[in-house]
């Protein structure tokens, strides 16, 4: 194949192949779809979108989420409660929490979780930034919304320790039964956690 195809085609196949979830076959199929030009303007739109992606996005200096403007829309929204921070691992976690429509505060994106196996320590995450933000700002509450995995839990414990000497209230997302869940089919660990985190009704 490498001898027959022109260099630009090969190059695009190679670049597609670097994306997660795309193997050599899909990469060639995508490339040839663009090349045939059945969908007028697709290649041009795509290249414009890619250019915009790198030119017009940046990280918000307050919450470190991806944004077009700095500070980001959430951080500059005066309607939102600027005294409550929700700490998450990834930008997509912000999207998920926004979808719940239950949170009206601001975010802090760590860009990962502690994991010595992958060589990720506190200095590799936006943890110092979070501490600085809490110490300098006027905050009531920090909600730790890291994943319920070993890495996410450890990161939450670490943050809890680092925030211990500030006046702010530190909370962790509850865990337990999923909505629509059947107690009979829930695993022991989840059920145990749900019992631990039960709530007073009266």
């Amino acid at each position: 194949m490498s001898n027959v195809l022109p260099k630009p085609v090969l190059r695009l196949i190679n670049e597609f192949g670097r994306l997660p979830g795309i193997g050599p076959k899909t990469a060639s199929r995508l490339t040839f779809y663009l090349l045939r030009g059945n969908d007028a303007g697709l290649a041009a739109d795509l290249s414009a979108a890619l250019a915009e992606l790198s030119e017009n996005t940046q990280y918000c200096t307050a919450c470190h989420n991806i944004t077009e403007q700095n500070p980001c829309e959430v951080c500059s929204d005066t309607e939102r409660d600027q005294q409550v921070i929700c700490v998450v691992e990834e930008p997509l976690d912000v999207v998920a929490i926004e979808r719940s429509r239950m949170f009206g505060g601001v975010y802090h994106v760590l860009h990962g979780a502690l994991s010595p196996v992958e060589g990720i320590g506190p200095d590799d995450l936006k943890i110092g930034e979070l501490i600085g933000r809490v110490q300098q700002g006027d905050f009531r509450e920090v909600i730790l919304a890291t994943n319920a995995t070993l890495e996410g839990d450890t990161t939450a414990s670490y943050l809890q320790m680092r925030l211990a000497d500030t006046a702010v209230r530190v909370t962790r997302l509850a865990r337990g039964l999923p909505v629509g869940g059947d107690i009979e089919y829930t695993d022991e660990v989840t059920l145990g956690r749900a019992l631990e985190g039960r709530r007073e009704l009266k």
Binding site: G21, G23, P116, P122, L150, E151, T154, S157
Partner: protein, 401 residues
């Protein structure tokens, strides 16, 4: 509980196998390297999700399966099991996928055609496996004894299995951190290490306590069978737990005594391990590994108060392992009310006459068993008459009438 049907696709040297399995003893024979062992391995794998022979599960997929550069290759094991509550359909899939330039491997488990976690497959099919290498358990490495014990105990206690897998994840992270501390110094990492240590000892406290109890239960069955059935009251065997919950300066017998006194209190056990870990920290950083914990445990046999490993004859060591296997059967029966399936891989040829007779007696009492052998002449004719016989030849199985 009875296995009624086994089907394999792309597992080891089986391209495709559909095998109805009868009650009683099934004798599988054939020349070497034809697939006798693989058949037992498949049943064992469905019961435990572990192979007795390898930790690299992707090797279980048939070597010839799929074409060169195939995107996905799937190995499939399916068993039909008759239980008190009706017929269960158990399935385990081994999936090798080519993603870009990387090959990934994952497993899927299904019970009654519904996807479940691998852990939930355990307990649906219970087996006791006896392979020739088990005869070296007494003299072999502590790692092989731990592996054996873990698989056995996981079949009997799911909580143990879950805690153990959690413990291993924490241990992996902690060891990675210790190696980083050796390279970069301890300053920035001490806080994170403390967090992992805390989690590690919490899980370890549970594991020490459960292991102590389970080993105690197993030991009682093994000791009784050894005394009553195998040595006619002449020798007393003991199976003893040797927990590593303190540094090497503390005698392990002492650790075991202490543990049995605190077996109801995992928190105190965790605290003791935490103190011990603090003492070995600088050593552990240099080594880049955690030197104390259940991952360094061991267990030993004693006969008449003396170490079987050091002072036992080869025959005594074999009797002890035989007692261990029969004890496993008795234990599963006591736990669940149902006999496990006994799988014997070419063990008969390794045993002398008396021990062989003990095993044949045990076999005849099993509701279901599968044994492999290269030759049938080592079995007594009246035993052979009661067995169903299968011949394995190049990954194909046919019944012999």
């Amino acid at each position: 509980m009875r296995l009624t049907h086994l089907s394999l696709t792309n597992f080891r040297n089986f391209g495709r196998l559909d095998l109805p399995v009868g009650a009683g003893v099934t004798l599988v024979h054939g020349a070497n390297a034809q697939g006798k062992t693989n058949l037992l391995e498949a049943i064992y794998y469905l019961a435990t999700t572990r192979s007795p022979y390898t930790n690299q599960d992707d090797q279980l997929i048939n070597w010839d399966a799929g074409y060169e550069g195939a995107q996905v290759v799937v190995g499939r094991l399916v068993a039909h099991v008759d239980t008190a509550d009706g017929t269960r359909h158990l399935e385990l899939r081994l999936i090798r996928e080519l993603k870009g330039h990387k090959t990934t491997f994952r497993r899927e488990a299904l019970v009654d055609r519904r996807k479940v976690r691998l852990l939930d497959l355990l307990g649906n099919l219970r087996v006791v496996l006896f392979v020739p290498t088990d005869l070296d358990l007494v003299t072999g490495s502590p790692a092989s004894r731990r592996r054996y014990l873990d698989i056995t105990l996981c079949q009997r206690n799911r909580h143990y299995c879950r805690t153990l897998s959690q413990y291993n994840k924490i241990l992996e992270q902690r060891n990675a951190l210790l190696r980083q501390m050796a390279e970069q110094g301890t300053r920035n990492n001490q806080d994170v290490l403390d967090l992992y240590t805390q989690r590690l000892v919490e899980a370890a406290g549970q594991i020490f306590a459960i292991r102590a109890r389970l080993i105690d239960t197993l030991a009682r069955d093994v000791q009784r069978i050894h005394y009553e059935q195998l040595t006619a009251g002449n020798e007393s065997l003991r199976l003893l737990y040797r927990p590593r919950l303190a540094g090497s300066d503390v005698d392990e017998t002492e650790s075991a005594d202490w543990l049995y006194n605190h077996v109801d209190n995992p928190t105190i056990i965790a605290e003791r391990m935490q103190t011990a870990l603090a003492d070995t920290l600088s050593y552990d950083i240099r080594r880049g590994a955690t030197s104390i914990g259940p991952h360094r445990d061991d267990w030993v046999f004693q006969v008449n108060g003396r170490s079987l490993r050091h002072y036992g004859s080869r025959g005594q060591q074999r009797s002890a392992v035989l007692a261990l296997k029969l004890g496993e059967i008795a234990g599963i029966k006591a736990d669940t009310g149902a006999s496990p399936i006994l799988l014997l891989d070419d063990v008969m040829a390794e045993l002398d006459g008396t021990r062989r007779q003990h095993l044949i007696t045990a076999l005849q009492q099993m509701p279901q068993a599968m044994i492999t052998s290269a030759e049938t002449t080592i079995f007594p004719p009246d035993f052979l008459a009661q067995t169903e016989q299968l011949a394995v030849d190049g990954g194909r199985v046919h019944s012999v009438i």
